[in-house]
């Protein structure tokens, strides 16, 4: 074939010409409240990568409820990296589709979580019901807004934080179960996702207190005005660890392994950590922690691994069908 012979060198020429300044595309599949964080971070990483290699990186973002996001990746959405709200959802990528090795969480520092957050309360200005700590949420006459832990990963953290508080401050698992029961009796609406709950609390003006991720609470203050809402930090809460990973099978196919890894590693850099802090997630690096110390108050934090034996166990005991959460509503 004559034309093919003629085209091939041309193609090579085109590739050679293109290689000094390639354009790489990454897809980052994330969950809802990281929208602002990654909009910021992607710009910074683009500049860093351009300076380092000359290549242009275009990072596309996909945001949505986390369980759904993980399922989309399992079903074939070609994500180069996933940055989800809980390790359990990334575990599913390994267990259900073999997209990543089972020990994925050991590949990056600090359990592959470059930023953390915690669970706090959002109350109306002046804190009319005098909410100070978790036990105030279970008192009669207090209306609490939190999403449904069966459909929302964020809500699972809320639930576990409440459980950890009662377990430590009120005496063991039995007390915790009683406390959780009383707390959820005060919940009038179980939205299917975290942003839905925020809407219920902010726009519909339902509830005295909303249990929320700290970054989401700051977002509400920024978006809807600190003259309407206040953040109350409880004495004890859970360290929420939203992990990140490269999706091996996808980057191998797309040839983006190097840039995808660099992308996630850059989250740990000083600039990355500063962006994290600026977007109300708690940074990991000592320098950024010091810089944002005034923003994030100190409190006693437990972790999912030490307190609940990891996500798989917590899921099985509390949130699986017939688990403790179901008992609240089915046992009379």
């Amino acid at each position: 074939m004559k034309s093919k012979n003629f085209l091939l060198p041309l193609l090579g020429l085109a590739l050679a010409a293109a290689s000094p300044a390639r354009t790489v595309e990454l897809l980052n599949v994330s969950y809802d409240p990281t929208r602002e964080l990654y909009a910021d971070f992607n710009k910074a990483f683009g500049a860093y990568w351009k300076a380092k290699t000359g290549d242009t990186v275009v990072v596309k973002q996909s945001h949505g409820g986390y369980g759904k996001q993980a399922r989309s990746v399992i079903d074939g959405l070609p994500a180069d990296v996933v940055t989800l709200a809980l390790a359990a959802d990334i575990d599913a990528l390994s267990a259900n589709a073999k997209l990543i090795p089972p020990d994925w969480q050991k590949r990056l520092p600090q359990n592959s979580t470059p930023y953390t957050s915690t669970i706090v309360f959002l109350v109306r200005k002046g804190n009319p019901k005098g909410i100070k700590d978790w036990d105030d949420l279970a008192k009669p006459g207090v209306s609490v807004i939190t999403p449904n832990p069966k459909t929302s990963g964020g809500a699972r953290w809320n639930y576990l934080a409440a459980w950890a508080y009662a377990k430590h401050r009120q005496g063991g698992d039995a007390a915790a179960k009683k406390f959780i029961n009383a707390l959820y009796k005060n919940v009038p609406v179980l939205d299917s996702g975290a942003r839905g709950s925020t809407t219920t609390f902010v726009q519909r003006e339902i509830g005295d207190v909303a249990i929320s991720w700290e970054n989401e609470a700051f977002f509400v203050l920024k978006e809807f005005g600190s003259d309407h809402y206040e953040i109350v930090v409880p004495s004890l809460s859970i360290l929420t660890e939203p992990p990140v990973t490269v999706v091996d099978k996808v980057v191998r196919k797309k040839g983006t392994a190097e840039v995808a890894r660099a992308y996630l590693e850059y989250l740990y850099s000083e600039e990355g950590q500063d962006i994290v802090g600026r977007n109300f997630y708690r940074p990991r690096s000592p320098a950024a922690v010091a810089k944002y110390a005034k923003v994030f108050p100190q409190l006693e934090l437990v972790t999912i691994d030490s307190e609940f034996g990891g996500w798989a166990r917590a899921q099985q005991t509390h949130f699986a069908d017939g688990g403790i959460f179901d008992e609240i509503y089915t046992k009379k």
Partner: protein
């Protein structure tokens, strides 16, 4: 139809191509409808009977069947009643703005259901335009079973109106005039002359609105509040199972819904056929 003018031999059709078009119909139906449904059945086939029952008959799931079927049925019935009035007004009277109202009827078809859900919730919530008048009287709509019913009524209305309109247009006012001139009272004209003609279309409209309501997810999850045992609809529980990567449990519930919906729709179709025969004698 006059039985004397039917054509007895099916092979002597005016237009050829029965075999071809039937083949096309079956292929098309298989690809679009039957294969995805068969996949749902296959997925559940891997479950043991015990697992299947545990997935589809837990108290929470049973409560959601009750809500989904009752609320859909109620919404369908209300849609039939008001849909008839709307269709009647649109067909029989001409007034300024009729075309605009006619177009408005289609809006629930086109509106993304999430938008409908958020809008309805805003209106019916405690501080909403409607909610603030209802709440002092102890009537709560948003985040209750009534909210589910309201959302389902909203999305079902156009189905009834659009099925009734052509039939009403066919129905000549002369028939009513004839009935009146023959001495029938207004009530009698309505119940003995008009309604029998409309029954098949009303049944179709009901079936469509009901079926649509059963499968509705987007608008309901916003207004229902999703309280277990109280305001969870079946599609929400399917999503809940999916969130736990319990694909088989989710499809098991889907299969139950499929079978139940199919049986009910079949029943409605039979009823419609019967009503047509009964009233046309």
């Amino acid at each position: 139809m006059n039985p004397a003018v039917t054509f007895p031999q099916p092979s002597r059709r005016v237009l050829p191509g029965f075999g071809l078009s039937l083949g096309f119909t079956l292929t098309y139906l298989s690809i679009i409808v039957l294969i995805p449904l068969a996949a749902a059945f296959l997925k559940t086939a891997g479950m043991s009977w015990g697992e299947f029952v545990a997935a589809v008959a837990s108290p929470r799931v049973l409560a959601s069947y009750r809500l989904s079927f009752l609320a859909s049925m109620a919404a369908g019935l209300v849609d039939v009643f008001f849909g008839l009035i709307v269709a009647w007004v649109l067909v029989r009277y001409s007034f300024p703005g009729r075309r605009i109202i006619d177009a408005l009827v289609d809006l629930p078809f086109a509106l993304p259901t999430a938008v409908a859900g958020i809008a309805l919730t805003t209106i019916y919530a405690k501080h909403g335009w409607v909610g603030r008048w209802l709440e002092p009287h102890g009537i709560k709509v948003a985040f209750t079973e009534i909210g589910v019913f309201v959302a389902l009524t909203f999305i079902g209305l156009p189905f009834v109106v659009r099925t009734l309109q052509p039939v009403l247009m066919e129905l000549e006012p002369e028939i009513e005039e004839a009935a009146a001139s023959l001495g029938a009272s207004r009530w009698k004209t309505l119940t003995r002359v008009i309604l029998p003609e409309l029954t098949p279309a009303l049944l179709t409209g009901f079936a469509l609105a009901f079926a649509r309501a059963l499968g509705e997810y987007g608008s309901v999850v916003f207004i229902s509040g999703n309280m277990p045992m109280r305001t969870e609809i079946v599609p929400l529980l399917i999503i809940t199972k999916l969130e736990q990567y319990d694909y088989r449990g989710a499809t098991a519930i889907a299969v139950v819904m499929l079978v139940a919906s199919f049986l009910m729709l079949l029943l409605i179709n039979l009823l419609q056929k019967w009503s047509r025969r009964y009233h046309r004698v």
